[in-house]
């Protein structure tokens, strides 16, 4: 079953959109500038999310989990690591490492279901369940391989 904080940098999804604290005029940044990282970020392109030092201004530290009514559940047993879900997820919420699909970033997934649509396996390796459904129960309900209809 998927670890909910799978491959997360420390601050993933800790903030509400809009900002938790509405600071005063003396504390807002000069020129509406937002910095994406703390410290030297020169080689960020070669660092995976969990190795990055995101600043509090990076939306990585915010969550949109409340947008979902349904959530995708990942079944690693069926997955063939084709990475279709990774390339088309609009919310950078498919966690792939070393060519392997590992699971969903539930802080950023909006439940659009695109990943389910593009998953080619039979049965699908991703399926939508109610937001409240626990992952174990969801996995226990996984359908069998569907026969091709003639």
């Amino acid at each position: 079953m998927q670890d909910l904080k799978l491959k997360a940098a420390e601050k993933r999804g800790i903030h509400q959109l809009g900002g938790d604290e509405l600071v005063g005029w003396d504390e807002v940044t000069q020129g509406i500038i937002l910095t994406s990282f703390e410290g030297d970020a020169s080689d960020i392109v070669h660092k995976k999310a969990e190795e990055r030092n995101y600043s509090d201004f990076n939306s990585y530290t915010a969550t949109v989990a409340s947008w979902r009514v349904k959530k995708p559940v990942f079944n690693i047993d069926v997955c063939i690591d084709c990475q279709n879900c990774w390339v088309w997820c609009p919310d950078t919420s498919i966690i792939s490492r070393d060519k392997q699909m590992l699971g969903i970033d539930y802080d950023h997934c909006k439940g659009c279901e695109v990943c389910v649509e593009v998953c080619p396996t039979n049965p699908k390796s991703l399926l939508m369940f109610g937001e409240q459904e626990d992952l174990e129960t969801a996995l226990s309900q996984w359908p069998e391989k569907k026969k091709k209809e003639k």
Binding site: S42, V45, F57, S59, Q83, V87, D91, D105, E117
Partner: protein, 317 residues
């Protein structure tokens, strides 16, 4: 430049995204699929400018940014000019040696919606193309002003319903054909111009990499299906894009140096345009008997355009 491997999706997926989640684009929005793909196509530093529009208002909402690279938004019309200025400054500072890292390789990219590209920012884009800055402009073409609630743009196809080109008892929606932005950009003698679609991820990635690698101004029009304004279920974004490319409503091709045209995708089975239209609420009214002629016209336009593309490809002129 450091381009990343796009041999297959597995290789491609080893890239570390520089476009972060918790932006506020609608669920299923194709804009972010396109942006992610562009950013995953290169390891180089990026300076990105965005015009006002869905992408911009959803990815830099104070106090959050979804961009892990340098990014700037000025106004609705001027992203092409913003990167022009940044690119000129890069050159000036490189000459003087005042950059923080004088050897850093960098790519300049501008994103605009169809509204800012075909309409309000047309002049700014044309100017930047003519001046020959080394940058890539990517239009996220969802065929309407989505950010302001779905008004018509000059990219809206004939027959589509929008909030300012309404379908009603006396109207079948937009009366004018879509502006041919790709031809116009090619006419700027740009070294690389293309029309690409996110469902064909590989040709899109190839096109992006070509544009990034090519010195000079490059332009790419991408189809960006908008579930909210086209009125389809968000899960179908890629399915709709498949219909767009397989009906040839949205042909995939490139034009090199203003004349050498290559078709990048030839559907095995070209589907009738009805299949594409029927999948979207914005074309619902076209299926009334009195609007049958519009569908016929759309199909005719598609056939003629496809014919033209093929001839140009053969002619190599």
């Amino acid at each position: 430049m450091a381009i990343t491997s796009i041999k297959n999706l597995k290789e491609f997926s080893t890239n570390n995204d520089r476009f972060e989640g918790a932006h506020t684009l609608c669920p299923g929005c194709a804009h972010s699929m396109i942006v992610r793909e562009l950013m995953n196509c290169t390891d180089d530093n990026l300076v990105i400018a965005s015009n006002t529009g869905c992408l911009e208002v959803s990815t830099a909402v104070y106090p959050f940014t979804s961009w892990d690279t340098s990014w700037i938004h000025i106004g609705f019309e001027n992203a092409a000019t913003a990167v022009s200025g940044a690119e000129a400054m890069f050159k000036a500072r490189k000459k003087k040696g005042t950059l923080k890292d004088n050897d850093a390789s960098v790519k300049f990219v501008a994103f605009g919606g169809d509204g800012s590209t075909y309409d309000i920012g047309f002049q700014w884009l044309s100017g930047a193309m003519e001046r020959g800055h080394d940058f890539t402009y990517i239009c996220l073409d969802n065929e309407n002003y989505a950010n302001t609630g779905g008004q018509r743009s000059s990219a809206t196809p004939i027959g589509a319903h929008t909030s300012t080109a309404q379908a009603g008892t006396h109207s079948y929606g937009k009366k004018q054909k879509k502006k041919d932005i790709v031809a116009i950009m090619a006419a700027h003698d740009a070294p690389y111009v293309a029309q690409l679609a996110p469902n064909k991820w590989k040709s899109m990635a190839k096109g992006f990499q070509k544009a990034l690698e090519t010195e000079g101004p490059c332009f790419i029009n991408t189809v960006s299906p908008c579930c909210t304004e086209w009125k389809f279920d968000p899960k179908d974004t890629i399915n709709i894009t498949d219909l767009a490319t397989d009906t040839l409503m949205f042909p995939i091709y490139e034009i090199i140096n203003g004349h050498e045209l290559n078709i990048l995708y030839r559907p095995k089975n070209v589907l009738p345009v009805e299949e594409y239209l029927a999948a979207q609420g914005r074309y619902k009214h076209l299926f009334k008997p009195e609007n049958k002629h519009v569908i016929e016209e759309i199909q005719k336009n598609i056939n003629e355009y496809w014919e033209m593309l093929q001839r140009r490809e053969e002619a190599r002129v």
